[in-house]
């Protein structure tokens, strides 16, 4: 989406000493000439400098003239603020290169073009040598940028802006209209193999449509005319469950190219003519393919305005192709009289005229292409930061208890990449819970499992979280069947009754059990883990008993808060930071536990340590022996 500033012209401030020093630092640089000293551009609120750059080591190249003119935009707050370099409209660069925004003319009167140079991305290296980090002082920063620009030009002329092993970058697909729509797909090296095998160049794609700040189209399935197999990403509940049976299908066309559509050196096509030519050079007749789909008797009418142009891309420059990227295009609106195009008859002798009709009437050569933002949300693509290990993600998890600890554990698991989980709680959310829960005011009075599931499904586009609203002590047959599919059961109820009930379950294979709870005052976390086809409640009880005894003796001195006037009900005093601390520890221990097989039954107790003055010192494993000594000392 293009974001434009308001058109109020800002009055010129004083030219600062820092800007003067920055400009002086260009003096003496070889290949740099200041053509026009600072002038104030009220619309952008920047000082601009017109420069001529003539790099010394330019290779022979039709795209890069020996000398090019540029406009440098500096903030009045220089050396802070952005520095932009745009090609001049006259005597400037007219082609688009890598590491550059698409370089198009603006209009007849504009002094510059749109192709901003990207020379300050960290780690990007231009020229045959490494640059120092970007300086932050007035004398250094502009000079650094201009020298990088010179090196960029040299690389551009030698076609070496992309270096083997660099992260792969797409050219900028420009939107012609401001549109708040985007397309999301999920492609990987696995689906790449699928695309490599098939012969067709085009087919039908179905979408899920979700409204939000952006209207997002999720690729539901890719179909080939006449074939039954489809490629369908495994989207999560938040996306698939919004669709109602009565909603009409949302469809578009996919067209598969052999290579990325680029006009050398690195410009994405901006008009239909350019796209047609690129397709033709790859042996694909764009109009013919679109016609074929639109004219299909059963489906043609339902096809909408989105076309996905697919092409293979590598992960890094110079590597083999690894996956497909789909760049979405929005076709112009079919006007009333053009609506007939959709109802194209399949008669042969009219075929060519219809294709020509399409081309001339509404896919005219000079029409600008309206590219949409297109993103690949395959888990590896969007989860490159912070996922749980594979052993954990492979588990089918049951979370019993959607209270404080349960809500936080659920949150950490799904954010860490867990997609399959079922949450069980029969209770309703009350306002007193909000102090240490992940739910909010909107969920008050609603079932905790239901609300948590809705929230968790919204955390990940792939999350398929289900809920069981029944009491664990009174499950339906369907619930029991669902539970039996689980391979990891986490009890966060603090309720022995639940554990006793759990012990009645007979699983078909070994299941990992975690039972986690907090003591009063949230000083200690009790972390119990075991594995087996049945949960051993006695083992749990024996291990935890000594710890609970310690608590009992201490409890007399702690005042117990109550729920409010009325039925007195012990409510444990613990803050969110205590709970998040323990929830995080549980996740970390879970990671360790999952990597060991079989899991030996164990109870670990984590305790918060404070100094005598009440300063937080940390959290660590507590040993029963320490407390036994204390007990003996007390007795004695």
């Amino acid at each position: 989406m293009k974001i434009r500033g308001n058109k109020i012209r800002k009055p010129a401030p004083e030219l600062s000493d820092e800007l003067r020093a920055g400009r002086r630092s260009l003096e003496g640089l070889i290949g740099v000439e200041i053509l026009e000293d600072f002038s104030w551009n009220g619309v952008s609120g920047k000082w601009i400098l017109r420069l001529r750059l003539s790099p010394e080591n330019l290779a022979e190249c039709e795209y890069v003239p020996a000398a090019t003119e540029w406009y440098a935009f500096l903030s009045p707050k220089y050396p802070r603020g952005k520095i932009k370099l745009k090609p001049a409209a006259e005597h400037g660069l007219i082609y688009t290169f890598p590491h550059q925004a698409i370089n198009l003319p603006i209009d007849d009167r504009a002094r510059w073009r749109t192709g901003d140079l990207c020379v300050d991305k960290p780690g990007s290296i231009f020229g045959r040598q490494a640059f120092t980090d970007e300086p932050t002082d007035a004398g250094g920063r502009l000079s650094w940028h201009i020298q990088r620009a010179l090196a960029w030009l040299e690389d551009a002329s030698a076609d070496s802006l992309f270096k083997y092993g660099d992260p792969f970058e797409l050219p900028q697909f420009d939107s012609y209209v401001e549109t708040l729509e985007k397309v999301v797909f999920a492609e990987s090296d696995i689906s790449y193999n699928y695309w490599k095998e098939i012969d067709e160049n085009a087919g039908v794609v179905e979408f899920y449509k979700l409204r939000g700040v952006y209207t997002t189209y999720f690729t539901k399935g890719f179909f080939r005319i006449g074939e039954t197999s489809t490629l369908a990403p495994d989207w999560g509940n938040a996306i698939t469950e919004k669709v109602r049976k009565s909603d009409p299908p949302i469809r578009g066309i996919w067209i598969k190219l052999k290579e990325m559509p680029v006009i050398p050196p690195w410009q994405a096509p901006t008009t239909f003519e350019e796209l047609r030519n690129i397709c033709r050079s790859q042996g694909i007749d764009l109009d013919e393919e679109m016609y074929r789909i639109y004219s299909h008797p059963n489906i043609g009418d339902s096809i909408g305005r989105i076309v996905l142009i697919g092409f293979p891309i590598p992960e890094k420059v110079g590597y083999d192709f690894e996956q497909y990227h789909w760049q979405a295009l929005k076709l112009p609106e079919f006007k009333g009289s053009d609506a007939n195009i959709k109802k194209i008859k399949k008669s042969r002798h009219r075929r060519q005229t219809q294709i020509a009709y399409n081309r001339e009437r509404f896919l005219r050569n000079n029409l600008k292409l309206d590219w949409l933002i297109s993103e690949n949300w395959f888990p590896d693509q969007i989860r490159s930061r912070g996922t749980l290990p594979e052993e954990v993600r492979a588990k089918n998890i049951l979370l019993i208890g959607g209270g404080s600890l349960g809500s936080m554990i659920g949150e950490l698991l799904v954010r860490g990449g867990i997609d399959r989980m079922v949450v069980n709680d029969f209770d309703l959310l009350k306002v007193g819970n909000l102090v240490r829960h992940t739910l909010d005011l909107r969920d008050l009075g609603l079932n905790k499992a239901d609300s948590l599931t809705e929230r968790l499904n919204l955390i990940s586009p792939f999350a398929k979280i289900d809920e069981i609203e029944e009491s664990f002590l009174d499950l339906s047959q369907r619930a029991v069947e669902r539970i039996k599919e689980c391979s990891l059961i986490i009890d966060c109820t603090g309720d022995n009754g639940v554990l006793q009930e759990l012990a009645e379950f007979d699983f078909d294979s070994d299941v990992i059990y975690l039972s986690v709870s907090i003591n009063l005052g949230a000083q200690r976390l009790y972390f119990y883990a075991s594995e087996g086809s049945k949960f051993d409640f006695n083992d749990f009880r024996e291990r935890i008993f000594p710890w609970l005894s310690i608590d009992r003796t201490n409890r007399i001195s702690i005042e117990m808060p109550s729920e409010g006037i009325g039925c007195w009900h012990p409510v444990f005093p613990a803050r969110s930071d205590d709970m998040w601390l323990f929830a995080s520890i549980i996740i970390k221990r879970l990671i360790n536990v999952s990597s060991v097989s079989p899991v030996e039954s164990v109870l670990e107790v984590f305790e918060q340590f404070y100094s005598e003055e009440g300063e937080f010192l940390g959290v660590g494993l507590a040993e029963l022996s320490n407390y036994n000594n204390q007990q003996n000392e007390k007795a004695a």
Partner: protein, 387 residues
């Protein structure tokens, strides 16, 4: 090296500050408004306009706490026959001065000096000019009261219009017409002589015209060369007090070659020309004659002594050498250092971090011209701070 950006910033540092310029503008505007509105003086005032270094854009920042000067000339219709002694004519203005500038004004020989808090206004009156001239003196090009630097197309012609008034098609056409008009050659005006005993010739408009024409022949660098050299004189305590002010400006005007392409070139070649031209005068301690542009009978240097001129000349010799070294230097640092020797701290320093030994690339980073290292590894994203 010519270091144009360095000179731009140097000049910005030696010209009167924006607030000084504001005060100068306010000072003279208010005075002239009051003059023209005063009912006692209205019948004797023909017109008024600005003269002096302020008008010619050759003024440099006043020293320390000193006030900036603005010179105003008031053309009257008082005939010399009626006022043999100019003092009597001047006295007509004293009630006005008392009314608006009580205790702030004093007679200064040929003019009245009005000392405001930050500005000093110098008010000179003239006797009646010829009728033809009187009309011309009321024109916009004469009365235009902003610095010449702001109007590079100024000419002393009937149809010249100030930039702020060129908003209509008519105005634009008039300006176009003015391009083909001949510049007026007016007669000198008559002002009190230094001791105010008699009337004397003066021709500020000719000086102004001469300056702007010279500036145009010098690609608009001339007035900046004047400022730069005046500044050199100002900071050089070893030089004698005189010549200073307009005489120096006149000397520079005579010696500055036409067609210069930078201030650096102008300064260097002007100083060298002075050295060349007045070698003999300096050696014999004689003061060369400097006929005024407007009144050739006046010698601009008439009050200069031979001693002073010789001492000044020696100073110029030294300066010319330094300027030449600065101009011919091949790195930014060497050049800037030399210019700073000449002009002092107001000339910006070049960065000092070992970049200066690059060939011709002085001032550039250590990362551009120090030879290449062939890059072998792939770009690693640099670690940053995250939140």
């Amino acid at each position: 090296m010519q270091l144009p950006t360095y000179f731009t910033d140097f000049l910005n540092a030696i010209r009167p500050t924006p607030s000084q310029r504001d005060e100068m503008k306010t000072g003279h505007t208010v005075l002239r408004t009051r003059l023209n509105g005063d009912k006692d003086l209205a019948h004797i005032i023909v017109t008024d306009f600005l003269q002096g270094s302020y008008r010619r854009s050759t003024a440099i920042r006043p020293k320390g706490d000193k006030r900036s000067d603005v010179d105003i000339i008031v053309v009257t219709n008082l005939h010399e026959d009626d006022y043999d002694d100019p003092k009597d004519a001047m006295k007509l203005f004293e009630p006005f001065l008392d009314k608006y500038y009580k205790d702030k004004w004093e007679p200064q020989g040929r003019s009245y000096g009005i000392k405001l808090s930050y500005v000093e206004l110098d008010l000179v009156i003239t006797s009646a000019p010829s009728e033809a001239d009187a009309e011309k003196l009321k024109s916009k090009s004469v009365r235009y009261s902003d610095e010449l630097e702001t109007v590079p197309d100024w000419r002393l012609v009937p149809s010249w219009i100030p930039p702020s008034e060129r908003t209509s098609n008519f105005a634009e056409e008039t300006m176009r017409k003015s391009a083909s008009e001949q510049v007026w050659r007016l007669s000198p005006l008559r002002i009190p002589d230094r001791d105010a005993g008699d009337w004397d010739d003066t021709h500020p408009l000719e000086q102004i015209s001469w300056t702007i024409e010279k500036n145009q022949r010098c690609n608009c660098y001339y007035i900046n060369v004047v400022k730069a050299i005046k500044w050199w004189k100002r900071i050089n305590d070893s030089l004698p007090k005189y010549p200073k002010g307009y005489p120096i400006e006149h000397l520079i005007g005579d010696c500055c070659p036409d067609g210069i392409n930078s201030i650096a070139q102008g300064v260097t070649e002007t100083l060298e020309e002075i050295v060349r031209k007045y070698k003999f005068c300096a050696a014999t301690k004689t003061v060369p004659e400097m006929p005024d542009h407007g009144v050739p009978g006046h010698d601009v240097f008439h009050r200069l002594t031979g001693e002073d001129f010789a001492a000044f000349y020696n100073g110029v010799c030294g300066a010319a050498n330094i300027a030449r070294e600065a101009f011919d230097a091949d790195t930014v640092k060497k050049s800037a250092d030399k210019w700073r020797e000449l002009f002092g701290d107001k000339f910006p320093p070049a960065p000092d971090d070992g970049r200066s030994d690059d060939k011709g690339g002085g001032g550039s980073g250590p990362y551009y011209h120090k030879g290449y290292t062939k890059r072998e590894e792939v770009s690693e994203p640099l670690p940053e701070r995250y939140a």
